[in-house]
Structures are given as structure tokens and as C-alpha cells.
Amino acid sequence: MQYSAKVMDHFANPRNVGEIPEASGVGEVGNPACGDIMKMSIQVKDNVITDVKFKTFGCGAAIATSSISTEMIKGKTIDEALKITNKAVAEALGGLPPTKMHCSVLAEEAIEAAIDDYLKKTTGKGLEKKKSLSHDEHHHEHGE
């Protein structure tokens, strides 16, 4: 398994690391048993994501997908941000090894969770229905 140059760049020099002190929305997804946790905070103004920061516990791909997805949603409207798929995240990185595709799913979920939190805070209810990401897409490989 080799990471692309783009993955290594985002891993070695991650963009937008940190937390926004009084964020409009915060989302945290993943759990340690699965290997990764992503926490994303967004600042929203006039329906546009003006700032975004992440903190990630995870492998190289988890950090890289977090980093690139912050770049991808910054300046976008909520609707535009919600349209970003995990495939788009992976493609923006020049591809991910098959065993690491689940990291891009996690990035998509983290964006969604942050937006959901923002919507809940502002409108009182979250996303209509979450893009249900079936667990099947997490291809785990356990040395078998």
C-alpha cells in the first residue's frame, strides 16, 4: 500500500488544524475501536461556511482526508458542502488505497455531523435525513 503524493502532502502539512472557539457547529465521528476519530468545527455566516477546523486521531489517510475536506468546504454554502461525497474527497487526494477508503467516508460524515449540529442549534432540528452511509462501505481487512 502506498499513499499518493497528495495524501502525503496533506498528511505532512495538514490544513486547518485546530478548533474554532465558538463554532457555529461541531461534529465528531468515528470511534477508537474502528481506528479513527474526526472532529470538525465550522463557522457559518449567511449560509456559507466561512471557516472550518479539524482535529483527527487516526492514520495518515484519516489526517489527509480531514485536511482536504476542510479545504473543499471552506467558502461553500451548506447545500454545496453537503453534496461533497467521500468519492470526491478520495479523488481530490489522487486516490486512496482500498483499505483506506473508509477514511473518506468518515470525512464526509464529519462534515455532515458539523452541519447537522449547526442546523440543530439554529433551526432547532437537524438534517432531514442523514445520507445513510451503510457500514458495508467500511472495508476492514483483518489479516485474514
Binding site: P32, A33, C34, G35, D36, K39, F57, G58, C59, G143
Partner: protein, 392 residues
């Protein structure tokens, strides 16, 4: 940039004398050792010599050594071959939770075809309690397969006590000694072992060549079936270059184990002390004293192993996060989990496995490079900031 290799568990560098022997042999031998003519004799004799060298390493007899293509194949062969040859005796086998996948996966397959497997738990050091074996034995128990030492955390299992039990109860004792053979002294007669797997690239030999020691008199069915190589027990034209290299590596290891141990253990302890001094929230895996000399497995809290590995690689330092095989898997190592470490902490496992290739300079360099990498990753980790909050 530095070129520091501290991943000897995944495979040691070829010993210079092994390189030499292989290079010489490349130019002299190619005959099929099954053949009667002069070319066959050259390779036949070279293999015989290697068989003696490998036998000497563990105090076995040459005809008790069967060459294989890896430690993995030796494990598959021992489990499937010995059980198949003893079907009448029973269908129960005892093993541990912390075995390598090349033991665990064949046993899963055997379970599907009617075998019963008991998997023993380990303590926080990854150590098996021989008393648990006594309790697990049944009239149908044919075989006990417990590793000699664990490659991921270094713990050396109480094989002496285990073998006393198996000998008394007339149960076949197989041990996966891939992480042990060539690194610590083994005597298959001093400790009564019936079958033992090893792998050349754990002690300076080439990768992709291993051996199964099988005590004379223990029956086995061939796993790879075909011609009559290896005394009819393992078919397939021999990897002559690999076998010759394994033989030389075994000879060198046997002579040098005490000296190597001395050197490597000292470096390992220095690295451990240095890390504990400069980085907080570190958990050391494995047994504090009964471990493979060069093994230093750590869980670094709040961060994940692969990220550490990648940053170290950028600095020219090669280590592994858990075992070679799990470094492509996503789950925390089953070995670390079995020692009771919690899931998040287990994700932060890194393994420094030192060898005779390492020096003081390597240790110093790592002690200089590791702390800022850990700090940087912790700053990026949501777990770290939360823990800081909860502490303040």
C-alpha cells in the same frame, strides 16, 4: 537523511556473510537436488549442510528439519499436517489468543471442518498461565500450539512449563518460534518440543524461507503434496539459494546469540528509558524482563501508530506499528487488545525492534526526532485536547 532500520521483527537485514554465501552459490549451484548427477549432488550437499546448520541452532537432528517457504507455511503445515495424521486420537487443540495469523487462521479453517479449538487468554504482559493449559486439556486433546515468543510485544511464553505438561499428558506440542529462533537460545530436547516453526529472515537470513522442526517419530501428512522432496514430507523443488542462506544465518546466530543479546538489549533499554523520560503517557507492552532482546513495543496515548510511523519514515527511521501483517489492517492488534489495553490506546502502538544493525547513534537520533512528532500529532488529536480539558 538517516537510514535507520528498527523493524527487525518484520525482517532483519541480510547478514553480510549470508550475502556472501548466497552470491557464491549463485555462481556454482543450480542443479535439482533430486537428481543423481554432479549438478544435483552440489545442491544436494549444500542443502544437507544447511539442514545441519539449522538443526544445530535448536539442538535437533538434521532429518528433523523440513524446509518450508516461510514461518507461515511451517505453521500451516504443523497444524494441518499433524492434526490430519492424528485424526483417530482426537479433535481438540489448545492455543492462545495472541498467536500470529498464520496459526489463528488455519485453526479457524480447521474449526469449520470439525475441530474444537480452545484459545487461552493471556495476562497484561501477554503471558500464558500454564495452569490454564492443565484446565483446558481434555481426553480428545491432540495438540497444543503456543508461540515461543510474541513478535509484536516480545513476551517469551513459559514453554518449559508447557512442555512438561504436554509431555506428561502425551499431547503433541507445537510452538511457533518464528520470533524466537535465532534470537534467543532454543533447545528442543532440553525443552521437550515436538514441532517448531521458524523463519530465516528473523535472524539475518533471506525472507521467504523457513523450516519446520518435527521430532522424529511424530507423524505428519504432507501439506504441499507432489514429489518426494524433504523426505516425502514437503513437495516442490527446493529454494536452494534461500535454504543455503538460512543455513549460514543459523550457524552465525548460534555462535553469536549471547553477544548479540548483550548489545541489542542494552540499546533497547536505552531507547526505552529515553522515551519514558521525554514523553509522558506511554504504556510499555510485553513482559518487563522475559522478552525478545530487541523488542520495544509502546502505546503512545492520544495518537495513532501509523501516523507516527509515517512521520518517522520522513526522518529516515523505519519502525512498524504493530506486526508487519497488521500494519495494513485497520483494527488495533489482537495481541495488544488481548493484554487488556483499551482500544484507543492500542491504536497508538508502535514497535521498535532493534537488531545487530543498530547503534547508539540510532538511539540518539530517534530520541531527538520522536518527541516533537508525538507532540505535533497530539496537538492534532481530539482525544488529547479533551483529556487536557478534563484534567484542568
Amino acid at each position: 537523511m538517516q537510514n535507520i532500520y528498527m523493524d527487525n521483527t518484520s525482517g532483519t537485514p541480510l547478514h553480510p556473510e549470508v550475502k556472501e554465501v548466497i552470491t557464491q552459490f549463485l555462481h556454482k549451484g543450480f542443479g535439482n537436488p533430486s537428481n543423481l548427477h554432479q549438478f544435483g549432488r552440489v545442491t544436494g550437499e549444500a542443502i544437507q549442510q544447511a539442514r545441519e546448520q539449522v538443526a544445530n541452532l535448536i539442538n535437533a537432528r538434521p532429518n528433523e528439519i523440513i524446509f518450508t517457504s516461510s514461518g507461515t507455511e511451517a505453521n500451516n503445515f504443523a497444524l494441518k499436517g499433524i492434526l490430519a495424521a492424528h485424526k483417530k486420537k482426537g479433535n481438540h487443540i489448545i492455543t492462545s489468543e495472541i498467536e500470529h495469523f498464520s496459526v489463528l487462521n488455519p485453526l479457524k479453517t480447521l474449526e469449520k471442518s470439525g475441530y474444537e479449538v480452545t484459545r487461552l487468554q493471556v495476562d497484561k504482559y501477554g503471558m500464558i498461565d500454564p495452569e490454564d493449559i492443565k484446565k483446558a486439556v481434555k481426553p480428545t486433546t491432540v495438540m497444543i500450539s503456543v508461540m515461543y515468543a510474541n513478535g509484536e510485544i516480545g513476551t517469551i511464553e513459559p514453554v518449559g512449563e508447557i512442555s512438561a505438561i504436554t509431555k506428561e499428558k502425551d499431547i503433541i506440542f507445537h510452538t511457533d518460534a518464528v520470533a524466537a529462533a535465532g534470537n534467543i537460545p532454543i533447545d528442543v530436547n532440553g525443552t521437550h518440543i515436538d514441532a517448531l516453526s521458524m523463519s530465516a529472515n528473523q535472524f539475518g537470513g533471506p525472507s521467504g524461507v523457513g523450516a519446520l522442526y518435527l521430532r522424529e517419530g511424530i507423524r505428519i501428512l504432507p501439506f504441499i503434496e507432489g514429489g518426494v522432496q524433504e523426505g516425502g514430507r514437503r513437495a516442490g523443488t527446493e529454494n536452494v539459494i534461500g535454504i543455503v542462506g538460512m543455513g549460514k544465518a543459523a550457524e552465525l546466530a548460534r555462535l553469536e546469540i549471547p553477544e548479540r543479546t548483550n548489545k541489542v538489549r542494552k540499546l533497547r533499554d536505552r531507547l526505552k528509558d529515553g522515551i519514558l523520560k521525554t514523553i509522558n503517557n506511554i504504556h510499555i507492552n510485553g513482559h518487563p524482563t522475559d522478552h525478545i532482546p530487541g523488542n520495544l513495543s509502546l502505546c503512545i496515548e492520544y495518537i495513532e501508530g501509523e501516523s507516527i510511523l509515517l512521520f518517522l519514515d520522513m526522518q529516515g527511521i523505519a519502525i512498524s506499528s504493530g506486526s508487519a501483517c497488521t500494519s495494513r489492517s485497520l483494527k488495533a492488534s489482537h495481541v495488544i487488545m488481548a493484554t487488556g489495553v483499551d482500544a484507543a490506546l492500542a491504536q497508538g502502538t508502535v514497535l521498535f525492534s532493534l537488531g545487530i544493525n543498530n547503534s547508539e547513534t540510532d538511539v540518539h537520533y530517534i530520541l531527538e526526532k520522536l518527541p516533537p512528532i508525538v507532540e505535533r500529532l497530539r496537538q492534532m488529536s481530539p482525544l488529547y485536547s479533551e483529556s487536557q480539558l478534563s484534567q484542568s
